[in-house]
C-alpha cells in the first residue's frame, strides 16, 4: 500500500495534466476565434508543464517549458493585434475567406 499510494497520486496528476493538454490542443486547433485559439494554446502548454512536473522532471525542464509558453504567448498576442489591423477581424473563417478572395482576384487579373 505504501508503494501504490504515491504511484496513484502520480498517475492522477499526470492524467490531469494530459487532460488539460488535450483540451487545450482541441481548442487551439478547432476554435474559430483567434483569441480562443491563443487561450487554448496556453491551456495546452500549462497541461504539458503540469504533466512534466508530475512525471518528476527537473527544474531545467520546467523552466524551459515555462519560457517556451511565455514566448508563444507574446508572439500570439502580437499576432492577434496584427490580424486585427490587417483584416479587421479575428475570426479564422473570415480571415480564410479574405485570403481565398485575394487568390481568386489574382487568378482573374
Amino acid at each position: 500500500m505504501v508503494i501504490v499510494a504515491p504511484l496513484s497520486v502520480e498517475f492522477v496528476l499526470v492524467a490531469a495534466g494530459v487532460s488539460l493538454l488535450m483540451i487545450g490542443a482541441v481548442a487551439t486547433l478547432m476554435s474559430g476565434n483567434v483569441i480562443k485559439r491563443l487561450a487554448g494554446l496556453l491551456v495546452c502548454g500549462a497541461g504539458a508543464i503540469a504533466s512534466l512536473a508530475a512525471l518528476g522532471a527537473g527544474d531545467g525542464a520546467l523552466i524551459i517549458g515555462v519560457a517556451l509558453l511565455f514566448v508563444y504567448a507574446v508572439l500570439g498576442v502580437a499576432l492577434v493585434v496584427r490580424l486585427q489591423e490587417g483584416y479587421g477581424a479575428i475570426e479564422a473563417p473570415e480571415i480564410d475567406a479574405a485570403d481565398a478572395d485575394n487568390d481568386t482576384q489574382e487568378r482573374v487579373s
Binding site: G17, V18, L21, G24, A25, T28, L29, V34, R37, L41, C44, G45, G47, A48, I49, S51, L52, L55, G56, A57, G60, A61, I64, G65, L68, V71, Y72, L75, G76, A78, L79, R82, L83, G86, Y87, A92, I95, D96, D99, N102, D103, E106, R107
Partner: protein, 487 residues
C-alpha cells in the same frame, strides 16, 4: 602555430557550427543598413558551412577527431554530422539568395529577417547536436519560433502571411506541448533525458516510453510538414513569393526532418520500443506519401505544390527510417539531400520571378532561363527521373525496403514518382510550351543575380546522381555512426 589553432578549432567544431551563425544573428541587430547586414550574414553563414563541411570530411574520411568536452554538453553522431553539414551549407546559400530581395524588404526589416534565418539554422543544428531531449526541444523551438517570426515579417508585403503565422503558432505550439510531455514520459520510463541512452537503457515501462517517443515524433512531424499534420504549410508558404520561402520551405523543413530522423533512429534502436516506433513511422510515412502526392497533383500554386511535394518526400524519409536498418538510415539521409536540392531549386526558381500561381509560369522559360532550368531540374528530381539525386534516393529506399521484405514501400515510392510525373510535367509544360500571359514580376535589378548561386548549386546537387559515390559513402558511414563519435 597556426596548425595548433586549426586543431583547436576542429576540436570545437560542433560548438563553432552553432556559435558562428548565432554571433552573426546578434550582429544583424547592430549593423545599420540592409546591404551591410547581408554581407555580414553571408560571411558568418559561409564560415559555419566551412566548419561543418570540414568536420564532416574529417569524420567521414575516417580520420580520428577528438572532440573537446567543455561548456555545453553536445553529442556528435553520424546522422547529426551529416545533417548539420547539409543544413549549414543550405543556410549559406539561402542567406546569399536574400540579397535579391533586400530592396523590397527595406533597411528596417532585412537585418531582422537575416537574423531570424540564422536563428533557424542555429536551432536545427543545435537540435542535431543535443545530448538530452529537453535541450533538443529548446533548440527545435528556437528554430520554429524564428520561422514563425520570419513569416510574420513577410506580412509587411502580403497580409496573408499573418494567416500562415497563425497556423504555425497554433500547430507548432501544440507540437511543442506534445514533445515536452513525450520527453517527460521517456525520461520517466528510462530514468534519463539523454537521447543516446535510449538504445542501451533497460526500459522499465515500455508502453510509457513508446507513448512518449510517439509524442515526440508527432511534434517533430508537425514541424517537418509531414501529412496529415501539415495544415500550416500551405498557408505559410503559399504567398511567400520571396526568398523567405527558401528559409521556411527548404531550410526549416530540412531541419525538422533531420532531427526527426536522428531521434527516430535512436528510438528504433531501443529493443523494447523499436517495433512500435517503426510501425508508427511506417503508417505516418505512407499517409504522407499518398496525401502529399494527391495534394500536389491538385495544387494551382507553385509554392503550395512544392510544399505538398515536400510532404510526399518527407513520407519517403519516414519510410526509410522506419526500416530501422543502416541501409534505411542511409536511404533517409539521401532523401534529405534530394529534398533540399529540389526545394532550393523550386522555391529559388519561384522567387526569381515572384511566381505564385501556376499561370505565372507560362512562358517562364524565355523570361527567366536559369530559374526555369532550376525548376525543371527540381521537378525531374521530384519525379525520380534517372540520373538525378531524386532517383538515387528513391532507389536506395527501394533497395532497403525490398531487402527487408517491405514490398509495399517500393509500391509507395512508385506512386510518389508517378504523381511527380503529373505535377512536375505540368510545370515543364507551362514554362516551355505556353506563351506568357502575365507581365514578368521579377525584381529586374542587378541584385537579382544573388539568386544565381543557389539555383546553380541546386542544379548541380540534383545532377550529383551522375557521380554519387562520395555522397553515398558519407551517408553509409553516417548511418553506422549512430552511437556517437567520441565519448
Amino acid at each position: 602555430m597556426s596548425a595548433a589553432y586549426v586543431d583547436l578549432a576542429r576540436a570545437h567544431a560542433p560548438l563553432l557550427m552553432i556559435m558562428a551563425p548565432l554571433i552573426g544573428a546578434v550582429l544583424m541587430l547592430v549593423t545599420g543598413t540592409a546591404r551591410v547586414s547581408w554581407l555580414v550574414a553571408c560571411a558568418v553563414a559561409a564560415a559555419g558551412a566551412y566548419v561543418a563541411m570540414d568536420f564532416a570530411a574529417i569524420v567521414f574520411g575516417g580520420y580520428p577527431q577528438p572532440i573537446a568536452e567543455v561548456g555545453v554538453s553536445l553529442f556528435v553522431d553520424g546522422v547529426g554530422v551529416f545533417a548539420a553539414a547539409l543544413i549549414a551549407v543550405a543556410a549559406a546559400f539561402v542567406v546569399s539568395a536574400v540579397g535579391a530581395s533586400l530592396k523590397d524588404a527595406g533597411d528596417a526589416a532585412s537585418p531582422l529577417a537575416l537574423s531570424l534565418m540564422l536563428c533557424i539554422a542555429v536551432g536545427w543544428i543545435g537540435a542535431l547536436m543535443a545530448r538530452d531531449l529537453i535541450a533538443m526541444i529548446a533548440a527545435v523551438e528556437t528554430a520554429w519560433l524564428a520561422s514563425t517570426g520570419l513569416v510574420m515579417l513577410n506580412s509587411q508585403r502580403d497580409r496573408a502571411a499573418l494567416n500562415g503565422a497563425l497556423r504555425m503558432l497554433s500547430w507548432g505550439g501544440v507540437g511543442a506541448a506534445f514533445m515536452l510531455v513525450g520527453a517527460g514520459l521517456v525520461a520517466r520510463a528510462t530514468g534519463s533525458f539523454a537521447i543516446d541512452v535510449l538504445p542501451l537503457a533497460h526500459i522499465r515501462m515500455p508502453n510509457v516510453a513508446a507513448a512518449g517517443a510517439a509524442l515526440i515524433v508527432i511534434g517533430l512531424a508537425v514541424k517537418g510538414g509531414v501529412a496529415p499534420l501539415h495544415a500550416w504549410i500551405a498557408a505559410a508558404l503559399g504567398r511567400l513569393g520571396t526568398t523567405y520561402a527558401l528559409a521556411i520551405g527548404a531550410l526549416g523543413v530540412l531541419g525538422a526532418l533531420s532531427v526527426l530522423t536522428r531521434f527516430s533512429a535512436y528510438a528504433i534502436a531501443a529493443p523494447e520500443i523499436g517495433g512500435s516506433i517503426s510501425a508508427a513511422l511506417a503508417v505516418l510515412g505512407s499517409a504522407s506519401v499518398i496525401i502529399g502526392s494527391v495534394q500536389a497533383v491538385g495544387a494551382r500554386n507553385l509554392l503550395r505544390l512544392t510544399a505538398y511535394a515536400g510532404a510526399s518526400q518527407a513520407g519517403c524519409v519516414l519510410l526509410s527510417v522506419a526500416l530501422g536498418s543502416p541501409a534505411g538510415f542511409a536511404a533517409a539521409l539521401m532523401q534529405l539531400v534530394a529534398f533540399v536540392a529540389a526545394a532550393l531549386a523550386l522555391y529559388g526558381g519561384a522567387a526569381a520571378g515572384r511566381v505564385q500561381s501556376l499561370e505565372m509560369l507560362d512562358g517562364y522559360g524565355q523570361r527567366a532561363p536559369l530559374a526555369s532550368a532550376a525548376i525543371t531540374v527540381g521537378a525531374l528530381s521530384l519525379m525520380g527521373a534517372p540520373l538525378t539525386i531524386g532517383f538515387l534516393a528513391r532507389w536506395r529506399l527501394v533497395e532497403a525496403g525490398v531487402g527487408a521484405g517491405w514490398w509495399w514501400a517500393a509500391g509507395l515510392v512508385v506512386i510518389a514518382s508517378l504523381a511527380g510525373v503529373f505535377y512536375g510535367g505540368r510545370l515543364v509544360e507551362r514554362m516551355y510550351f505556353r506563351r506568357a500571359n502575365i507581365a514578368y514580376a521579377g525584381d529586374g535589378g542587378v541584385w537579382r543575380v544573388a539568386l544565381g548561386p543557389v539555383l546553380i548549386v541546386a542544379i548541380v546537387a540534383i545532377a550529383v546522381g551522375l557521380a554519387p559515390s562520395v555522397l553515398l559513402n558519407a551517408a553509409a558511414k553516417a548511418s553506422l555512426m549512430l552511437t556517437g563519435l567520441a565519448a
